[in-house]
Assembly symmetry: C2
Homo-oligomer: 352 residues x 2
């Protein structure tokens, strides 16, 4: 064995959903937006001066996008941190804030990247079980810890924690940083942003990958106090000076400018979600209440895995998690009405 073998870091990488190619595929497996980015965003990409955009380094302060987000959310520009997708934002936050000997805590059923970062950065962690209805109970988060991470609404369940409940967690952990991952909040959850003025231990994380239809551009951000944002920027600047391409910065800025298109597409998804709940219930699915752009739904006629495999054979991709607690369920992204109709027809065929 080579001497360097013993110094290699052992990790358990996160497994992202498949990205199958092909025209006839119905892709409901990674919670992408079924609608394209706004026409104005597409226009900005088409008309950018790529001769200059390409050869020059990006603005290391991302002034354009930071300014757009600050004014959109009515916070200072020193309260916005920009990262290379919310995965990068969360990774930086873990590195920046979780340096205690005490374990950080998060639910046992949540975004499965949290334990990956904790292991990666050698942060002790403890997973706190959701209750029987897949709910987060604030009283479970009162023990001493090195930090808290709550996805709200949660994934892959889609269940939202009311803001009054979330506030209890933030309040009872005033000595630790509480990260609230709001990847899906634009689809109906209550944002913790309004608590920022009251708590100095709160970091809210957002993404452009879902409601803003820019998963391909890799844009995430955090909103917090100037003090905590400074810490995150210092950590980012100790890893990568330019985490986002100039193309992504331009796309993000253009997206924020087009509020009407943004609201309309969210309404479209919510309408299709409501309809999909009805259609899936007709087909004997058990469905958790969703405040996201996906449904966590269990077929009752056949197993979750069987349904997953049979849908896959028919070119319909949804997400299935094989852990015991989750394996009855499928996480189904809300697509267009047409895409959902293909899904329903495939389910009918499978259950016939």
């Amino acid at each position: 064995m080579a001497g360097w073998e013993e110094n290699i870091r052992r990790v358990n990488p996160y497994t992202p959903g498949e990205q199958p190619q092909g025209k006839d595929i119905i892709k409901l497996n990674t919670n992408e937006n079924p609608y394209p980015p706004s026409p104005k965003t597409i226009e900005v990409m088409k008309s950018m001066d790529f001769g200059s955009v390409g050869r020059r380094y990006p603005d290391p302060n991302a002034k354009g996008l930071v300014g757009a987000l600050a004014s959109y959310y009515h916070v200072g520009t020193d309260q916005i941190f920009i990262g290379n997708g919310s995965d990068d934002v969360l990774s930086v936050a873990f590195l920046a804030f979780f340096n205690s000997e005490k374990p950080i805590v998060f639910p046992d059923v949540t975004y499965s990247f949290y334990p990956v970062w904790a292991q990666m950065y050698r942060i002790p962690y403890r997973e706190i079980p959701l209750d029987a209805d897949f709910r987060i109970l604030p009283e479970d988060y009162e023990s001493e810890n090195g930090g808290v991470v709550i996805a709200n609404p949660n994934a892959p369940t889609g269940v939202a924690l009311p803001l009054t409940e979330l506030e209890k967690i933030i309040r009872s952990n005033s000595d630790a940083i509480v990260i609230v991952d709001e990847a899906y909040v634009d689809y109906g959850g209550d944002s913790a942003l309004r608590l920022l003025d009251r708590y100095d231990n709160l970091v809210v994380v957002r993404t452009f990958s879902k409601s803003r239809a820019l998963a391909g551009a890799r844009i995430g951000f955090a909103i917090s106090s100037p003090r905590l944002i400074q810490v995150m920027n210092d950590v980012e600047q100790s890893v990568n000076s330019y985490p986002l391409s100039t193309m992504s910065l331009l796309a993000g800025e253009a997206s924020v400018a087009d509020e009407e298109y943004f609201r309309e597409r969210i309404r479209d998804v919510l309408r299709t979600r409501a309809r999909s709940v009805i259609e899936l219930k007709k087909r004997f699915f058990t469905i958790l209440p969703s405040e996201t752009n996906f449904l966590f739904a269990a077929p009752t006629r056949i197993s979750g895995n069987e349904m997953f495999e049979q849908l896959r054979e028919r070119g319909v991709f949804v997400r299935h998690f094989s852990s015991e607690r989750l394996n009855d369920y499928l996480r189904i992204t809300i697509g267009t009405d047409r895409e959902m109709d293909v899904l329903f027809a495939a389910i009918d065929e499978i259950q016939e």
Copy 2:
């Protein structure tokens, strides 16, 4: 003091060169390419279907770009790692390979991000002084260590280490991973790629930011054995599943396809470099031999800092490092001939 304060990571961020805006500015401070990306790359950006590129996640395996690089460098697709700029590639390599109690080693004068990553990831390190002529001496790298990082050609000096000398370092450190950072190698250095077959401890890191004029797209890559590339991919997938935007992946792939344009622009820079050496010597500068797209040059009539400040006042940006060993020098990126003429005229005015 809030309880969370003690758990915040203290870091010393890297300071990138300024990105001043303005039409009349001559920007020779961050080693960007003075020429735009190839016309074919610009065309790919203009004609991409951003509706789909934007809303979909990137290919997590980056198959298009990985395939293009593998065939360009005549290696397997399992020998290519893609990252978000070579900073991300290096950061991942540090995390992946440098987990020894023994210090990693690199020159005292080199890319100043190396000690930043080491501190960030709590990797012990030792800086080995260059000799009086700013050269790396292989015999200085024979002591036991936890890994080696060599920028070749080195920065900010521009000096290249002959491949036979570099090979001594790789050979005498067979129990540690040796990272060779070849950010500037396309401008004249000898690449360590040809040593890959002989050494299982070698990782070669490259960037699209210099010779490929894609600093704004943030693309870096590593070439090594399938085993070490797998380790790097596992670490990357434990931090961020999709480190590059689809736009960047497309731009990178298009760039690799246009060999003729690439070679021509390198020749242009080399011609301007040769001419710039002559012009600066006429103006009493001491210049280190450069195999890069920049010159490390010391004015002898006034101090390095004075020259830096006076150029800056005239809208000509170069890079100045304030450490004692480097502060006589300026790092001057090779621009277009026209840009260099503005620099020479400004120097004449300052030294008049």
